[in-house]
Amino acid sequence: MGAAVAERQYVDPAVSRRKFDREIAEFRAEAVEYGRRGWFLADARFPHALVVLSTAKTQPISVLCGVLFDYSNYDAAPPSVRLVHPLTREPYKWSEVPTRLPRLSPPPDAVPAVAQPPGVQQPLPPELAQALAQGGAQALGQVGAQVTLQAQPLMQAHGDDDIPFLCLAGVREYHEHPAHTGDPWESHRRSGAGRLVRLVQIISKYGPETIDGFEVQLTPQIRFRFGVPPG
Protein backbone atom coordinates (compact mmCIF):
# COMPACT_ATOMS: atom_id res chain seq x y z
CA MET A 1 0.00 0.00 0.00
CA GLY A 2 1.42 3.36 -0.99
CA ALA A 3 5.03 4.04 -0.21
CA ALA A 4 5.16 1.86 2.87
CA VAL A 5 8.27 -0.24 3.08
CA ALA A 6 7.31 -3.87 3.57
CA GLU A 7 8.47 -5.20 6.93
CA ARG A 8 9.78 -8.77 6.79
CA GLN A 9 7.13 -11.00 8.31
CA TYR A 10 8.79 -13.36 10.77
CA VAL A 11 5.71 -14.15 12.88
CA ASP A 12 3.33 -16.79 11.55
CA PRO A 13 1.34 -14.67 9.08
CA ALA A 14 -1.90 -16.36 10.12
CA VAL A 15 -1.41 -15.11 13.68
CA SER A 16 -0.66 -11.53 12.72
CA ARG A 17 -3.45 -11.52 10.16
CA ARG A 18 -5.98 -12.76 12.70
CA LYS A 19 -5.01 -10.00 15.13
CA PHE A 20 -5.04 -7.43 12.34
CA ASP A 21 -8.51 -8.58 11.30
CA ARG A 22 -9.69 -8.15 14.89
CA GLU A 23 -8.42 -4.56 14.94
CA ILE A 24 -10.21 -3.80 11.69
CA ALA A 25 -13.44 -5.54 12.71
CA GLU A 26 -13.58 -3.66 16.00
CA PHE A 27 -12.97 -0.36 14.25
CA ARG A 28 -15.68 -1.05 11.68
CA ALA A 29 -18.14 -2.06 14.39
CA GLU A 30 -18.02 1.51 15.70
CA ALA A 31 -17.45 3.19 12.34
CA VAL A 32 -20.51 5.42 12.67
CA GLU A 33 -19.34 6.80 16.02
CA TYR A 34 -15.80 7.24 14.78
CA GLY A 35 -17.05 8.93 11.64
CA ARG A 36 -18.68 11.60 13.80
CA ARG A 37 -15.24 12.34 15.19
CA GLY A 38 -13.77 12.57 11.72
CA TRP A 39 -12.04 9.17 11.61
CA PHE A 40 -12.47 7.15 8.44
CA LEU A 41 -10.95 3.77 7.73
CA ALA A 42 -10.10 4.25 4.07
CA ASP A 43 -8.33 0.97 3.38
CA ALA A 44 -7.42 -2.20 5.22
CA ARG A 45 -5.37 -4.91 3.56
CA PHE A 46 -3.08 -6.91 5.80
CA PRO A 47 -0.72 -5.73 7.10
CA HIS A 48 -1.66 -2.12 6.30
CA ALA A 49 -4.53 0.07 7.40
CA LEU A 50 -5.09 3.64 6.31
CA VAL A 51 -7.17 5.90 8.56
CA VAL A 52 -8.01 9.37 7.30
CA LEU A 53 -8.51 12.07 9.93
CA SER A 54 -10.57 15.18 9.33
CA THR A 55 -11.16 18.33 11.31
CA ALA A 56 -14.66 17.76 12.65
CA LYS A 57 -14.90 21.17 14.34
CA THR A 58 -14.16 23.35 11.31
CA GLN A 59 -16.55 24.76 8.73
CA PRO A 60 -16.05 23.48 6.15
CA ILE A 61 -14.76 20.15 7.41
CA SER A 62 -11.37 19.36 5.93
CA VAL A 63 -9.12 16.35 5.67
CA LEU A 64 -6.04 16.83 7.84
CA CYS A 65 -3.92 13.77 7.12
CA GLY A 66 -3.82 10.05 6.70
CA VAL A 67 -2.36 7.65 9.22
CA LEU A 68 -0.78 4.54 7.77
CA PHE A 69 -0.44 1.57 10.10
CA ASP A 70 1.70 -1.47 9.40
CA TYR A 71 0.74 -4.46 11.54
CA SER A 72 3.46 -6.78 10.25
CA ASN A 73 4.55 -9.20 12.97
CA TYR A 74 1.84 -7.96 15.34
CA ASP A 75 1.80 -8.46 18.22
CA ALA A 76 5.27 -9.85 18.63
CA ALA A 77 6.20 -6.38 17.40
CA PRO A 78 4.22 -3.14 17.70
CA PRO A 79 2.66 -1.51 14.64
CA SER A 80 4.47 1.08 12.59
CA VAL A 81 2.63 4.40 12.45
CA ARG A 82 3.25 7.13 9.89
CA LEU A 83 1.41 10.34 9.09
CA VAL A 84 0.91 10.27 5.33
CA HIS A 85 -0.63 12.39 2.60
CA PRO A 86 -4.23 11.17 2.52
CA LEU A 87 -4.37 10.98 -1.28
CA THR A 88 -0.91 9.79 -2.30
CA ARG A 89 -0.18 7.91 0.96
CA GLU A 90 3.37 9.24 0.87
CA PRO A 91 4.80 9.75 4.36
CA TYR A 92 5.17 13.40 5.26
CA LYS A 93 8.61 14.81 5.84
CA TRP A 94 9.12 16.81 9.02
CA SER A 95 8.89 20.04 7.04
CA GLU A 96 5.59 18.96 5.46
CA VAL A 97 3.67 17.31 8.25
CA PRO A 98 0.37 19.16 8.79
CA THR A 99 0.46 18.64 12.56
CA ARG A 100 3.26 17.72 14.93
CA LEU A 101 0.77 16.65 17.58
CA PRO A 102 1.74 19.19 20.24
CA ARG A 103 1.15 18.07 23.77
CA LEU A 104 1.24 20.23 26.88
CA SER A 105 3.07 18.80 29.82
CA PRO A 106 4.83 20.17 32.86
CA PRO A 107 8.60 20.23 32.78
CA PRO A 108 10.26 17.44 34.76
CA ASP A 109 10.85 19.67 37.79
CA ALA A 110 7.27 20.96 37.96
CA VAL A 111 6.03 18.01 39.98
CA PRO A 112 7.81 15.99 42.66
CA ALA A 113 10.03 13.32 41.19
CA VAL A 114 8.46 9.95 41.83
CA ALA A 115 9.77 6.67 40.50
CA GLN A 116 7.19 5.31 38.08
CA PRO A 117 7.09 2.28 35.83
CA PRO A 118 7.67 2.71 32.11
CA GLY A 119 4.71 4.09 30.26
CA VAL A 120 3.29 5.94 33.23
CA GLN A 121 2.92 9.67 32.86
CA GLN A 122 3.63 12.02 35.70
CA PRO A 123 0.18 13.14 36.82
CA LEU A 124 -1.07 16.67 36.53
CA PRO A 125 -3.14 18.06 39.38
CA PRO A 126 -6.75 16.97 38.71
CA GLU A 127 -8.06 20.52 38.28
CA LEU A 128 -5.31 21.30 35.81
CA ALA A 129 -5.75 18.08 33.91
CA GLN A 130 -9.48 18.66 33.61
CA ALA A 131 -9.03 22.27 32.52
CA LEU A 132 -6.55 21.26 29.87
CA ALA A 133 -8.61 18.34 28.66
CA GLN A 134 -11.68 20.48 28.22
CA GLY A 135 -10.18 23.81 27.35
CA GLY A 136 -7.05 22.83 25.46
CA ALA A 137 -4.81 25.75 24.69
CA GLN A 138 -7.45 28.22 25.84
CA ALA A 139 -7.03 26.92 29.36
CA LEU A 140 -3.41 27.98 29.38
CA GLY A 141 -4.18 31.45 30.62
CA GLN A 142 -6.17 30.10 33.51
CA VAL A 143 -3.63 27.59 34.65
CA GLY A 144 -0.43 29.32 33.65
CA ALA A 145 -0.04 30.91 37.07
CA GLN A 146 0.00 27.51 38.75
CA VAL A 147 2.29 25.43 36.58
CA THR A 148 4.53 26.34 33.71
CA LEU A 149 3.62 24.07 30.85
CA GLN A 150 5.61 23.30 27.77
CA ALA A 151 4.43 21.98 24.45
CA GLN A 152 6.28 18.93 23.23
CA PRO A 153 5.34 17.37 19.91
CA LEU A 154 4.52 13.70 19.91
CA MET A 155 5.88 13.62 16.38
CA GLN A 156 9.67 13.64 16.33
CA ALA A 157 12.39 13.95 13.68
CA HIS A 158 16.00 15.01 13.50
CA GLY A 159 15.85 17.13 10.36
CA ASP A 160 13.45 18.78 7.93
CA ASP A 161 13.87 16.01 5.35
CA ASP A 162 13.39 13.17 7.86
CA ILE A 163 10.19 11.15 8.01
CA PRO A 164 8.90 11.95 11.49
CA PHE A 165 7.82 9.19 13.83
CA LEU A 166 5.22 9.03 16.55
CA CYS A 167 7.18 9.11 19.79
CA LEU A 168 4.79 7.00 21.81
CA ALA A 169 4.96 3.68 23.59
CA GLY A 170 3.12 1.11 21.52
CA VAL A 171 4.58 2.34 18.23
CA ARG A 172 7.30 0.42 16.40
CA GLU A 173 9.42 3.48 15.60
CA TYR A 174 9.42 4.49 19.27
CA HIS A 175 10.57 1.11 20.54
CA GLU A 176 13.20 0.77 17.80
CA HIS A 177 14.69 4.18 18.58
CA PRO A 178 18.05 3.95 20.41
CA ALA A 179 16.80 6.40 23.03
CA HIS A 180 14.05 4.03 24.11
CA THR A 181 15.87 0.77 24.62
CA GLY A 182 14.89 1.01 28.29
CA ASP A 183 11.21 0.95 27.46
CA PRO A 184 10.68 -2.27 25.49
CA TRP A 185 7.52 -3.21 23.64
CA GLU A 186 7.14 -6.24 25.89
CA SER A 187 6.31 -3.88 28.76
CA HIS A 188 3.34 -2.51 26.83
CA ARG A 189 2.26 -5.42 24.68
CA ARG A 190 -0.46 -6.71 26.98
CA SER A 191 -1.82 -3.29 27.89
CA GLY A 192 -3.31 -2.68 24.46
CA ALA A 193 -0.78 0.04 23.62
CA GLY A 194 -0.63 -1.04 19.99
CA ARG A 195 -4.37 -1.27 19.39
CA LEU A 196 -5.62 0.57 16.33
CA VAL A 197 -8.39 2.50 18.06
CA ARG A 198 -6.11 3.57 20.90
CA LEU A 199 -3.50 4.97 18.52
CA VAL A 200 -6.09 6.76 16.36
CA GLN A 201 -7.62 8.24 19.51
CA ILE A 202 -4.29 9.69 20.63
CA ILE A 203 -3.40 11.09 17.21
CA SER A 204 -6.88 12.59 16.97
CA LYS A 205 -6.67 14.11 20.46
CA TYR A 206 -3.42 15.94 19.80
CA GLY A 207 -4.09 16.55 16.11
CA PRO A 208 -7.46 17.32 14.53
CA GLU A 209 -9.31 17.75 17.84
CA THR A 210 -7.13 20.76 18.63
CA ILE A 211 -8.17 22.49 15.40
CA ASP A 212 -11.32 24.56 15.75
CA GLY A 213 -11.06 26.95 12.83
CA PHE A 214 -8.93 28.42 10.09
CA GLU A 215 -6.42 31.22 10.12
CA VAL A 216 -6.08 33.38 7.05
CA GLN A 217 -2.93 35.41 6.52
CA LEU A 218 -3.15 38.20 3.98
CA THR A 219 -0.12 40.19 2.98
CA PRO A 220 -1.13 43.60 1.61
CA GLN A 221 0.97 44.95 -1.23
CA ILE A 222 1.16 48.63 -2.13
CA ARG A 223 2.15 49.56 -5.64
CA PHE A 224 1.85 52.64 -7.79
CA ARG A 225 -1.30 52.79 -9.87
CA PHE A 226 -0.43 54.22 -13.25
CA GLY A 227 -2.85 56.13 -15.40
CA VAL A 228 -3.08 56.01 -19.18
CA PRO A 229 0.36 56.78 -20.47
CA PRO A 230 0.68 59.92 -22.59
CA GLY A 231 1.12 59.56 -26.33
Binding site: E23, E26, F27, A29, E30, E33, R36, R37, L101, R103, S105, P118, G119, V120, Q121, P123, P126, Q130, A133, Q134, Q152, P153, L154, Q156, A157, H158, F165, L166, C167, L168, A169, G170, Y174, H177, A179, H180, D183, H188, R190, S191, G192, A193, R195, L196, V197, R198, Q201, I202, K205, Y206, E209
Partner: protein
Protein backbone atom coordinates in the same frame (compact mmCIF):
# COMPACT_ATOMS: atom_id res chain seq x y z
CA UNK B 1 -34.59 -2.94 37.15
CA UNK B 2 -35.51 0.62 38.19
CA UNK B 3 -34.90 3.65 36.05
CA UNK B 4 -31.87 4.33 38.22
CA UNK B 5 -30.27 1.06 37.08
CA UNK B 6 -29.69 0.56 33.40
CA UNK B 7 -27.31 -0.88 30.85
CA UNK B 8 -24.56 0.93 28.98
CA UNK B 9 -21.73 -0.12 26.68
CA UNK B 10 -18.12 0.77 27.32
CA UNK B 11 -15.90 0.19 24.30
CA UNK B 12 -12.45 -0.69 25.67
CA UNK B 13 -9.71 -0.07 23.12
CA UNK B 14 -12.25 -0.90 20.45
CA UNK B 15 -13.95 -3.87 22.11
CA UNK B 16 -17.44 -3.32 23.61
CA UNK B 17 -18.38 -4.45 27.11
CA UNK B 18 -21.97 -4.29 28.32
CA UNK B 19 -22.40 -3.21 31.94
CA UNK B 20 -25.26 -2.60 34.32
CA UNK B 21 -24.80 0.71 36.10
CA UNK B 22 -26.52 2.67 38.88
CA UNK B 23 -27.05 6.36 38.47
CA UNK B 24 -25.50 7.24 41.86
CA UNK B 25 -22.35 5.17 41.48
CA UNK B 26 -19.09 6.79 40.33
CA UNK B 27 -18.01 6.00 36.80
CA UNK B 28 -14.59 4.86 38.02
CA UNK B 29 -16.26 1.77 39.40
CA UNK B 30 -17.46 0.84 35.95
CA UNK B 31 -14.16 1.78 34.35
CA UNK B 32 -12.49 -0.81 36.60
CA UNK B 33 -15.17 -3.35 35.82
CA UNK B 34 -14.84 -2.80 32.07
CA UNK B 35 -11.06 -3.14 32.25
CA UNK B 36 -11.29 -6.34 34.27
CA UNK B 37 -13.85 -7.87 31.97
CA UNK B 38 -11.88 -7.04 28.86
CA UNK B 39 -8.66 -8.40 30.36
CA UNK B 40 -6.91 -5.03 30.31
CA UNK B 41 -5.03 -5.28 33.57
CA UNK B 42 -1.64 -4.01 32.39
CA UNK B 43 -2.21 -0.37 33.26
CA UNK B 44 -4.10 1.19 36.20
CA UNK B 45 -7.49 2.84 35.58
CA UNK B 46 -5.94 6.31 35.91
CA UNK B 47 -4.04 5.65 32.70
CA UNK B 48 -7.26 5.27 30.74
CA UNK B 49 -9.36 8.02 29.23
CA UNK B 50 -13.14 7.81 29.19
CA UNK B 51 -15.15 9.62 26.53
CA UNK B 52 -18.78 9.76 25.52
CA UNK B 53 -20.04 9.23 21.99
CA UNK B 54 -19.39 12.85 21.07
CA UNK B 55 -15.76 12.56 22.12
CA UNK B 56 -16.21 14.58 25.35
CA UNK B 57 -13.79 13.48 28.06
CA UNK B 58 -15.60 12.31 31.18
CA UNK B 59 -14.39 12.70 34.76
CA UNK B 60 -14.55 9.15 36.10
CA UNK B 61 -14.78 10.37 39.69
CA UNK B 62 -18.28 11.71 38.98
CA UNK B 63 -21.35 9.56 39.19
CA UNK B 64 -23.22 8.14 36.25
CA UNK B 65 -25.95 10.72 36.76
CA UNK B 66 -23.56 13.65 37.14
CA UNK B 67 -21.89 12.60 33.91
CA UNK B 68 -25.21 12.79 32.09
CA UNK B 69 -25.07 9.17 31.05
CA UNK B 70 -28.39 7.68 29.97
CA UNK B 71 -29.69 4.21 29.37
CA UNK B 72 -28.06 2.58 26.39
CA UNK B 73 -25.21 5.09 26.24
CA UNK B 74 -22.02 4.08 24.52
CA UNK B 75 -18.77 5.23 26.11
CA UNK B 76 -15.20 4.79 24.89
CA UNK B 77 -12.25 3.87 27.07
CA UNK B 78 -8.76 4.14 25.62
CA UNK B 79 -5.26 3.99 27.04
CA UNK B 80 -3.77 7.46 27.40
CA UNK B 81 -0.63 8.59 25.63
CA UNK B 82 1.61 8.05 28.69
CA UNK B 83 5.19 9.15 28.26
CA UNK B 84 6.34 10.26 24.87
CA UNK B 85 7.15 13.27 22.79
CA UNK B 86 10.34 15.25 22.90
CA UNK B 87 12.41 12.19 23.69
CA UNK B 88 13.20 10.90 20.29
Amino acid sequence: MSDRDFGIDIVVNGKPEHLKVHIDQPMERYVKEALERSGNSGQPPEQWELRDATGRILDASKTVGQSGIKKGAKLFLNLKAGVGGGRG
